[in-house]
């Protein structure tokens, strides 16, 4: 390993740092420094990653990557590990390279025990070939980004390709249609250690729309009931019960819903696999309970004595699950939809019965949300395409009886909203 690090990285890393500095000054994105380093020393990523005693972990899936990366990092830190992780959303090759660069010394060393990285499915195999992850967790395969991927089967093929690059272990959502099939294939192949997390059939049945898992038509559906390392036995609002090694643990979750509980079960399963005998479930529960939500994912902001809860509006599953686990009918609602979210036709598959009205609709494609509500015969107050004006309109309006505004925000609208409300902590890190 000593020959792979050292002086020959000084120049490329310095060049990357300079680029990083220059793009910061310009106020630009953080992906370019990664490009520069990659050009100058293409093996830098692999060599830096290979020094980590607990290796590299990939966190994959349609939804929940940022949340699970955050939870898993907290669990590992609670066990005394120094964790390197990529900023939420910086999950494509150059964003990851930039993040690694920022934490790497001029001689190509990183002050960490483990790298926990959320990874975009479309680039996962490429990144895996560079970073040689030992373990991976795949959270779910949902109907997501059809405009980009065409059909869910394509994403299943991507996950299969990524799994082929994983070194030793993979942790899968037992109750996901496509991932159940992938687990069967990987078990038959026998190269990887395959473990599962899941929810009990009762929890699955009591969820209003289950986990909104995409249909797998291949006919290879897993029929055998596999055992799960960590299993959600109850998910009710913020309270979950998770069974691990024969004992049920109460977990007060940072946010609500079956999807959040499943992400926690995934983090427990992966941490137990990676830490082996060092894993302490009490520490893991404590870490999860004291973790803050990732920004914009069930995050509650406090503005002028009012609460604003931000829920993601990314695809059918995120909208539906966030609706399903609302506490009652929200009395003050904003929806904002991105220009970069192509093809909002999936909105028609959503069950909006949890809403009785929306106050303000925003974002460049807000009209598509308005049309969905209009066809449903639900009231929406106004359409204000500029999200900062829309947010201000909500704040200028009467204080909601509940004291809480509920914002359903697409990614860019969420970033703009947080910035507008003075939450500028993302400016440095996000790609």
């Amino acid at each position: 390993m000593s020959k792979s690090t050292g002086l020959h990285y000084v120049l490329p890393i310095l060049a990357g740092r300079l680029t990083r500095f220059a793009t910061r000054l310009r106020g630009g994105g953080s992906a370019l420094p990664g490009v520069v380093v990659q050009k100058l020393a293409p093996n830098v990523m692999r060599d830096v990653a290979s020094q980590l005693p607990y290796g590299v972990v990939f966190v994959l899936g349609s939804n929940g990557k940022s949340t699970t990366t955050n939870l898993l990092s907290a669990v590992m830190r609670e066990h005394g590990l120094r964790v390197f992780t990529n900023p939420s959303g910086a999950n494509m090759p150059q964003g990851i390279a930039s993040a690694i660069l920022a934490e790497t010394s001029l001689t190509g060393r990183m002050d960490a025990d483990i790298a926990i990285l959320e990874i975009d499915e479309g680039y996962g195999a490429v990144i895996a070939r560079q970073l040689k992850p030992d373990t991976a967790v795949i959270l779910n395969l949902l109907v997501d980004q059809i405009y980009r991927f065409g059909e869910p089967d394509k994403v299943a093929a991507m996950f299969r390709g990524i799994a082929a690059e994983i070194g030793s272990s993979i942790v899968l959502n037992r109750d996901d249609n496509f991932l159940g099939t992938l687990g069967t294939e990987l078990e038959a192949e026998g190269r990887l250690n395959v473990e599962y997390f899941g929810v009990t059939p009762e929890v699955q049945a009591s969820a209003p729309h289950g986990q909104v898992s995409a249909r797998d038509f291949s006919g290879a559906a897993a029929t055998a009931l596999r055992s799960a390392v960590a299993e959600v036995v109850q998910a009710d609002g913020y309270d979950a019960k998770i069974s691990f090694a024969g004992t049920v643990h109460d977990v007060r979750m940072p946010s609500r819903g079956i999807h959040y509980a499943v992400d926690i079960a995934a983090a427990f399963t992966l941490a137990a696999r990676n830490l082996g005998d060092r894993f302490d479930i009490a520490k893991a529960v404590s870490a999860v309970q004291t973790t803050k939500t990732v920004y914009g994912r069930g995050e509650v902001l406090h503005v002028n004595g009012r609460e604003i809860e931000i829920l993601m509006l990314k695809n059918l599953a995120s909208l539906q699950l966030n609706l399903d686990y609302l506490e009652g009918t929200p009395d003050s609602v904003l929806f904002a939809y991105d220009e970069s979210s192509k093809d909002p036709s999936w909105l028609y598959a959503a069950d909006l019965s949890k809403l009785d009205h929306v106050d303000v609709i925003s974002g460049p494609k807000g009209a598509f949300v308005a049309l969905r509500l209009a066809y449903e015969g639900k009231d929406f107050g106004v359409i204000e395409p500029d999200v900062t004006k829309a947010v201000q309109r909500m704040l200028d309006g009467p204080r909601p009886k509940s004291g809480k505004h509920t914002f359903f925000l697409d990614y860019d609208q969420m970033m703009a909203t947080r910035r507008y409300l003075g939450y500028k902590d993302l400016e440095a890190g996000a790609a």
Binding site: P152, D343, S345, Y348
Partner: protein, 239 residues
Amino acid sequence: MSVRVLELYPADLSLNGDVGNRTALVRRMRLAGIAVEELSYSAGDELPETADIVLIGTGSSSAVRSIAVDVDRIAPTLRAWSEAGVVIVGAGAGFHLLSTSIRLSATEVIPGAGVFAGSVDNSSKRIITEAFALDSDFGLIIGTENHTSVYTGRPDQKALGRVRNGFGNGDGTDGVRVHNSIGTHCHGPFLVLNPIVTDALITIAAERAGLSYQPGPAHADLDQVVDLARNILIAKLPS
């Protein structure tokens, strides 16, 4: 008296919010005071005796493959309904399943229902057009296309329209119109974004059911919102 709307394979062919086509039809009819009966059909079910409007939506190749045998089973009824003037709307995979045959790969061809005389090669490269636009007898049709197919129609069957932006059937046209049946690659959903088509089809179906469809002020309000959404896509069309 009511208008019966039948959605075929809603659990299988629903990749792009296809239930929205039903939502649009039902909402517009109810706003005009027309009673609607909503029915769903899944593989293995018995088809109802009759239907006034039949919908079949978009889906993955694997979904098409999995229901092909069942489509073949109900094909004679679907052809008879179409010939009798029942309104049938197929989008994407649903359109393909109503054609005569679908090539899924170099070695795999499955039969379609034969409502439309053309055939589909579904093994081409993926085409995605955010603002997919057709000039049709109805007017400007707009939505999104996302498929891997070339549709080769028969000269005696009219296309739905000429492609203004996008790929469509692959020959400058998109879709097909036979009797009161329509196939198209347009989704968004199709009948949500194109009320000019939706109203024309409701008018036909209502008349066949002995009813009259008169859109009113509530429809005009709805269409103002439709136009806001349509205009976002229209603004993306090359000038």
